[in-house]
Amino acid sequence: MLKKLKQSKIKFITILSSLFLALFISVPIICIVTHTTLSALITSILSEEIQFAIRLSLGTAAISTIMCIAISIPAAYALARYDFFGKSFVNTTLDAPLALPPLVAGVSLLILFGTTSFGKALADAGLVLVFTPLGIIIAQFFVNVPFMLRILRGTFQGINPRYEHVAETLGCTKAQAFWRVTLPMSKNGFLAGSIITWSKGIGEFGAALMLAGATRMKTETLPISVFLNMSCNELNLAIAAATILIIISLISLFVFERYGGFTRVF
């Protein structure tokens, strides 16, 4: 095997670099997981703080994902099916959060909800977004909605409108045709979009940090927990939170590759 590899320098060098890259990525991850003993890890994971962070992360990510789906279905459908004035402007704008550093997105959200009269009106109405779990949800939504939108837009574009046409001749209203035909046909897109949005929501740090802050046991999601515990040298707790994040990413990566890998994200 090695002899064969040496026959071609290029082959040897390229394969070596890919192996090195794989090593460079897997070793640090393994380092985190193996840094403490298993019993210390389990104790940390079962601690009240980490349990709180797990619940808050899963919960906020689930809610922001549902919000992303709810708004992306009509928006993506319009962008896939209709031509309208300002369509390319809308397309570009909706992609902006992808390019924006999450930290900057968070600052802009903080200014909007914390300093403007619009933000104050929302707060007066009971929707306090600054330094609250609600802020985490909004931050995740802001950063992640372009992913959901792009996946659903691509999915809808890939479905021939003739399916809806036929459904309409079979007694459906336009809404029924969408509900009974297009939606079931978009199943894979929804699955892929939800997994991406949800797992990115769980990992969301920058924007959430700016808008919701990092308050222990209040806005402490898993990434915030890693950050807080690293800052106060609580290495075991930080590693516990990081380990959970790794597990969640690996599972979603697997599910995405398995069921939604064909969906075009970009």
Binding site: R162, Y163, H165, E168, L170, G171
Partner: protein, 349 residues
Amino acid sequence: MIRIENLSKDLGEFFLRDVSLEINDGEYFMVLGPTGAGKTILLETIAGIYHADSGRIFLDEQDITDIPPRERNIGMVYQDYTLFPFLTVEENIGFGLKTRKVTKREIKRRVEELANLMGVSQLLHRYPGTLSGGEQQRTAIARALIMEPKVLLLDEPLSALDTQTAERLRQELKNIHSITNTTIIHVTHSFEEAFLLGSRMAVMNKGEIVQVGTPNDVFRKPESEFVAEFLGVGNLFQGKSRVDNGIACIDVGDINIVSATLKSGSVHVSIRPEDILVSTKQIVSSARNSFKGKIASIVDAGTTLKIAVDVGIDNPFIVAITKQSFDELNLKTGGEVYITFKASAVHVF
């Protein structure tokens, strides 16, 4: 009856321009035209998928121009079947009745009935992705027919199928039409289909209807250069074919035409005008068909001349010859000539 008055629709690449048509109850109506003629968009506008820019559509004297597709009761079958891939054959066929809130038992009964009619009853639990093209098309037709539509629109239903399957399904379409007596509008680019199925037909080009009539009329009396060119063939006869000794002999009246296409029974025969030789004396050759006749007319068709030769049957043979040959042979109206063509030039369908 369906009446279309001055219908126009512009979708950019495809468009309809001032289309007027009347289609009678129970009629099998063909719409024939080349790709891009606007055939599909005509069907889609009749179905209500697109709203007409101008003009009206009447179904049984009711103006349906502004009525949504679901209230028109017009069935539509696309060329690519558009079966719902996530539903079984059974669920596909029953889709429309479910919309109408028919009871489950009744849906099951009707689905079985339609599946029987279309010959897909053994496929009810399969998904469309596992079916052949012919099976998918049958399912799609069953799905449309279960609604008992007043009009069934078929968009090139046979053109995605292989020749054998297409031929079988064509025969079945004819049977279904006579069983259900549904008004059918069938779009195609194949003249053969139009001829075999249609009681009347319309020829379309560039979004307009250029001629309407029985297939025979349109074929015999093309009203424009386009129709003549598009239909292409020049000689069409009906007759009874007998296959004997590896050759088909077709009695088309007072003469027998020999063909290499082995098909027996009642058939149509066509011969392209370019494939017929004309001579002033009988020629001895390997060609199996040779008839004596009189020149009935001579028409200048640009680069060639079209000569009608009366051989004593209802319709004269049309022969295309170059101007040089015409001059050399010194042909005149009323003159006696021989026409000769090979058995392999005789197209039987």
